[in-house]
């Protein structure tokens, strides 16, 4: 039982991290109707900026405090993501108002390759580390209930807490504020949104900026776990099944979807893996997503789309 609990918790924590990346997809889709293929590239770009500035700042200024350097690097990386959002709106999105979803998707595909290349030429293409001082050592809990207790990773708990806070803030923003309503309106119909005086350009900058900050947080946490390297972009691919499961338009969906995928991966690996020789973790989520596409294409919490014929 303790082992099951341990696997479950491990899965939940991993799932929270998937959710964080999935959240970026959901934000941009919800607010502009664009499936942003570049989310993975944004995670890499933001993480690279964060890693390099946290390295450069002590060198340039002689600040020794790890915390101070990290905070400064986070702020600078955030500012960079804002500039990126602004440039994307100016150069790409502005010219594609009222265009088809597929056109915008292709545009984000272009942005992906551009950002991957630019990020690496600006910040280098080695493996960098982000050290935000997260405790790496595992702790044992529930020792009085189970013999030997249940092992959990402190780092994962903190990461999960950060993700949860971010999600709560974003949910309130979307549901309760006029700007949130404007974002949802833009997602549904550009022209109608303009006709009621919603400034499309500003909305797009806001969304991409928020998605950039989410990418930064995701990049920071993933980066501190795995190191900042090109393979971070594939984290985005791991988040794809999460959005399919949770529904592209639902913030809570991204979270629940992430948790289900995280738990599903770990449990299936541990309990089903031995029968098929292991390695389930890698493809389990995609199969789950496929099943969902067959039976519930809008995901768990997505808006049901009824097309009139």
């Amino acid at each position: 039982m303790a082992f099951f609990l341990e696997t479950l918790l491990g899965g939940l924590m991993a799932g929270m991290l998937y959710s964080l990346v999935a959240l970026g997809f959901v934000l941009i889709f919800k607010a502009s109707g664009v499936f942003n293929f570049a989310q993975g590239a944004m995670v890499l770009f933001a993480a690279l900026a964060m890693a390099r500035f946290s390295e450069w700042i002590p060198q340039w200024t002689g600040i020794n405090s790890l915390l101070l350097a990290n905070v400064a690097a986070f702020v600078i990386a955030g500012a960079i993501m804002f500039v990126v959002a602004w440039i994307i709106e100016r150069l790409v999105l502005r010219h594609l108002v009222n265009q088809d979803g597929a056109t915008l998707l292709m545009a984000t595909l272009g942005i992906t390759y551009f950002m991957e290349g630019l990020g690496q030429s600006l910040f280098g293409s080695d493996i960098y580390k982000i050290d935000i001082g997260m405790p790496k050592d595992p702790v044992f809990v529930l020792e009085s209930v189970y013999q030997g207790g249940v092992l959990i990773n402190k780092e994962d708990v903190i990461a999960a807490a950060i993700a949860a806070a971010l999600v709560a803030a974003l949910s309130i923003f979307f549901q309760k504020t006029a700007t949130g309503r404007a974002l949802r309106a833009v997602a549904d119909d550009h022209q109608a949104a303009q006709s009621i005086g919603i400034p499309l350009n500003r909305i797009w900058v806001i969304v991409w900026c928020v998605a950039g900050v989410v990418a930064l947080v995701a990049g920071m946490i993933w980066g501190s776990k795995l190191g900042v390297q090109f393979s971070l972009t594939t984290v985005a691919l791991r988040a794809l099944p999460v959005v399919i499961l949770g529904g592209l338009t639902s913030v809570p969906g991204a979270i629940i979807g992430g948790l289900i995928i995280g738990v599903g991966e770990k449990l299936s690996e541990v309990y089903l893996g031995p029968f098929v020789g292991g390695g389930i973790e890698i493809w389990f989520s995609y199969v789950l997503a496929l099943v969902f596409l067959l039976f519930r294409p809008q995901g768990l919490f997505g808006e049901k789309i009824i097309d009139r014929v």
């Binding site: 700007t179 949802r184 109608a192 338009t249």
Partner: protein, 260 residues
């Protein structure tokens, strides 16, 4: 009905618009007076919607200008037009399908919400009072359009006639001075058309809103409008009261002649 028609509020001067080699509008001029119901009619492809889209800032005409409340523009910008108090509805419904009726109409108040984002999120202080005030205004519109029962329904699930009402409701929520209606009765049955006519007349009557209306149904146009502009192949062929237009030979030839 004694209605007070005011001065010219919207003046369209020599507007020409073409898409590549296709001339959609050539040299169109007309004006709209405050508090009147002004109709734009014409056969399919006459340029009616293009005209409306020029006023609304969706299209930028190559020539001419539009004067709104004394300010002259070469071309309008959608956002600016909304700020100045012009609202519109769409020929092919352009509602926010995933959102409820309430949220759709509430989104029309977007420009009016002034309080700070953070206060809104936390629902405290002046933000709460403001939200309640806007909500009350929206409830009045919902009552007016008789869609109380569908408040929480996602608009995508409503029948067509009701969606048209929500579209009107969203425009009304902006408390516009000028309301542009792009074929508000298209595709409706007789009963729905009567309802919609009643709403348009009431809006005009109660709030004094100036209405510019594109419509195919000649009966409707002649009944409710004060003055009518007739377009054909992008040119203006008639302008005047319904009776004048009805007796205009060009109009009979181009429009009525073909449909009778």
């Amino acid at each position: 009905m004694t209605k007070k028609i005011g001065d010219v509020i919207l003046d369209v001067n020599n507007i020409s618009l073409s898409f590549g080699g296709v001339k959609a509008l050539s040299d169109i001029s007309f004006n709209v007076k405050e508090h009147e119901i002004r109709a734009i009619i014409g056969p399919n492809g006459a340029g009616k919607s293009s005209m409306l889209n020029c006023i609304n800032g969706v299209y930028a005409p190559q020539q001419g200008s539009i004067t709104f409340r004394g300010q002259t523009f070469k071309h309008m910008n959608s956002h600016q037009v909304a700020v100045m108090g012009v609202a519109r509805t769409f020929q092919n419904l352009a509602l926010f399908k995933g959102m409820s009726v309430l949220d759709n109409i509430m989104s029309g108040r977007n420009l009016k919400i002034k309080s700070n984002l953070l206060l809104q999120a936390l629902r405290i202080g002046p933000a709460e009072k403001e939200e309640i005030m806007h909500r009350e205004a929206v409830e009045k519109i919902i009552d007016f359009l008789e869609i109380q029962a569908y408040r929480k329904t996602p608009v995508g699930q409503l029948p067509y006639g009701l969606q048209k009402r929500v579209d009107l409701g969203r425009a009304l929520a902006m408390e516009p001075q000028v309301l542009l209606l792009d074929e508000p009765m298209a595709g409706m049955n007789v009963e729905e058309k009567q309802d919609m006519c009643r709403f348009v007349l009431d809006v005009n009557d109660e709030f004094g809103t100036t209405v510019v209306l594109i419509e195919h149904d000649m009966g409707v146009v002649m009944d409710i409008s004060d003055r009518v502009v007739v377009l054909d192949y992008g040119k203006k062929i008639g302008d005047g009261t319904p009776d004048e237009v009805r007796n205009n030979e060009d109009v009979i030839r181009a429009y009525l002649g073909t449909s009778h």
